[in-house]
Amino acid sequence: MRLKSMPISARVGAAGILVVVACAVFAPLIAPYDQSAIVGEVWAPMGGDFLLGTDSLGRDLLSRLIFGARATLFVALAATMLSFAIGMLLSFTAVVSGGVVDQLLSRFNDLMMSVPGLILALVVLAVLPQGTLILILVMAAIDSTRVYRIGRAVALDVSVMDFVEAAWLRGEGKLWIIFREILPNTLAPLLGEFGLRFAYSILFLATLSFLGLGIQPPAADWGGMVKDNKDGIIFGVSASLIPGAAIAGLVISVNLVVDWMINSTASLKGGRGDA
């Protein structure tokens, strides 16, 4: 996995991600207006003072798009990282402990996965108070069930290796086995999975925000911006398509990079065909 051997598609993806990250980091410097300032008419067309026009309240769409990159990236990344921390810790514990612990954790995981993620999120968010922290926790908890399933499968393969056996015989504890033996040897396969889950988290967050249950106004976020401007579509106002395209662009970029990462590690395995 050398950077020099990166195909064009992955380079395009990496460039896309960099643009979004730059927008998120330097938002106050790049954005022409404040994200919540009402600066013009409702749904002003593109061009002139407002490069992308204004939204349903007369706020500058470009500025909200740039500031929205912050919330979108931060929440999706935080949720994915937390879900990996939970999922990997629990799945590795299940593998190392085995027996009853493994059974309990795995069957509970099956139960959580028997209800579709979006439905579970809707049910839970109907009860909990709204807030960014709660949103991250709910997304992470639901996503960690998927991480658990994959983490367990990968860790199971590693746990029967000779060097793990040797560590047990040396008298190492469970924590050592998890963090010093299994974790370093599962990082490579789980890296591609992390990218996939991240792309999925962006889409999931956008969906929740679109349904009005994600990031709460007045903070700008891409899914919420689609929701704010959706009534304009029937009048031919494309203000809801622009943040939608931004989400699509970011997810495509992430997927292009992930594709390259997975392909460049998969080719090590060999085998006939590319199935």
Partner: protein
């Protein structure tokens, strides 16, 4: 001496049938168990979360006295286990309770809207499944050549689009620019099937685009997996025709993975309905649930959650059973 031999074969076939029936019965029982556990998750798990229903129900008018009063009125002062039992007992008899926001029967709304949603999902599946299988086979047939590459790039883009974005793009194109499709997709009682189908054309198209790419990628890799196995290579080396290889060697072994692909994507379709219904203001169960979540109308949220979970579990169960029927090796689990 042939009679005992025949007898033995007959009993062994009977036993294998018996085993199969037992195995399937066990899966069905397991499915029921999972459904019961999911109902506990939807009802009990939610009640264990922090947040007082009575207080959220009252919103800003919550004084300690009024909260207490509402708790009594909604029956929240009784132990949870008892309420869960009554809830589940009611559902078995077709009673889903009454909505908190308008005090109507939940079941009545639920069945009507479930019918609308099912129409949407079934129409989408009827288009998406054959299309995905066909495109998947084309991709395998022309593997690593132009059609395969084009399909693979397009599908990578399609899986990256949020469902609502696909929906608004299609509205922009077909309704605003061309003016050929209806928006919003309204259906009401007394509409004929033909009228209904033309009203839901755009939401169906959106769902097809949303689910097609994923289904096709999975079909492609399922068929490729079979095509790259040693027995297909042997069949090739034997000099069999491509048609015979596919029909006699590859197809029977591809049934199980393909059915799994279809079932998984039908489940995704059922969930995708939630977002699509909000986009197209379609009176289905997904819209019903989202509305209830925003006003925190718990009986409706729990009823819808349970219905979605049940559909999801049943589809996965069907996929399991077909896999067992299609693959004899699964009948003897290690």
């Amino acid at each position: 001496m042939s009679a005992p031999g025949n007898d033995q074969i007959a009993t062994s076939a009977g036993r294998s049938n018996n085993l199969l029936a037992r195995l399937i019965l066990r899966r069905i029982l397991l499915g029921f168990g999972l459904l019961l556990a999911a109902s506990m998750l939807v009802y009990g798990g939610v009640e264990m979360l922090p947040g007082d229903f009575a207080a959220t129900y009252l919103g800003r008018d919550a004084t300690p006295e009024s909260v207490e009063h509402v708790r009594k009125e909604l029956g929240l002062d009784r132990p949870m286990i008892q309420r869960y039992g009554e809830w589940l007992g009611g559902i078995v008899q077709g009673d889903f309770g009454t909505s908190w926001s308008n005090h109507n029967s939940v079941a009545e709304q639920l069945w009507k809207r479930l019918g609308n949603s099912m129409l949407l999902a079934v129409a989408s599946a009827a288009i998406a499944v054959p299309l995905a299988l066909g495109l998947g086979m084309i991709a395998v047939r022309y593997r690593n050549r132009f059609p395969d590459r084009a399909i693979s790039i397009l599908s990578l883009a399609a899986v990256s689009l949020p469902e609502f974005f696909i929906g608004y793009l299609l509205i922009q194109f077909f309704t605003v620019q061309l003016g050929v499709a209806a928006f919003p997709a309204t259906v009401y009682d007394g509409m004929s099937l033909g009228e209904r189908l033309s009203a839901i054309a755009l939401p169906v198209l959106t769902l097809v685009v949303a689910v097609l790419a994923h289904m096709m990628r999975m079909t492609r890799s399922a068929i490729l997996n079979v095509m790259s196995s040693p027995y297909v290579e042997t069949a090739e080396l034997k000099g069999l025709s491509a048609l015979r290889i596919i029909a006699e060697h590859a197809a029977p072994n591809a049934v199980a993975p393909i059915v799994t692909v279809i079932a998984l994507n039908l489940a995704a379709l059922v969930v995708g309905v939630v977002v699509i219904e909000v986009v197209f203001v379609y009176p289905g169960i997904g819209q019903y649930m989202v509305d209830a979540v925003t006003v925190r109308d718990m009986p409706v949220v729990q009823a819808c959650g349970l219905i979605f979970a049940a559909i999801y579990i049943v589809l996965n169960l069907l996929a399991d059973i077909v896999s067992i029927l299609a693959n004899p090796r699964l009948r003897h689990p290690r």
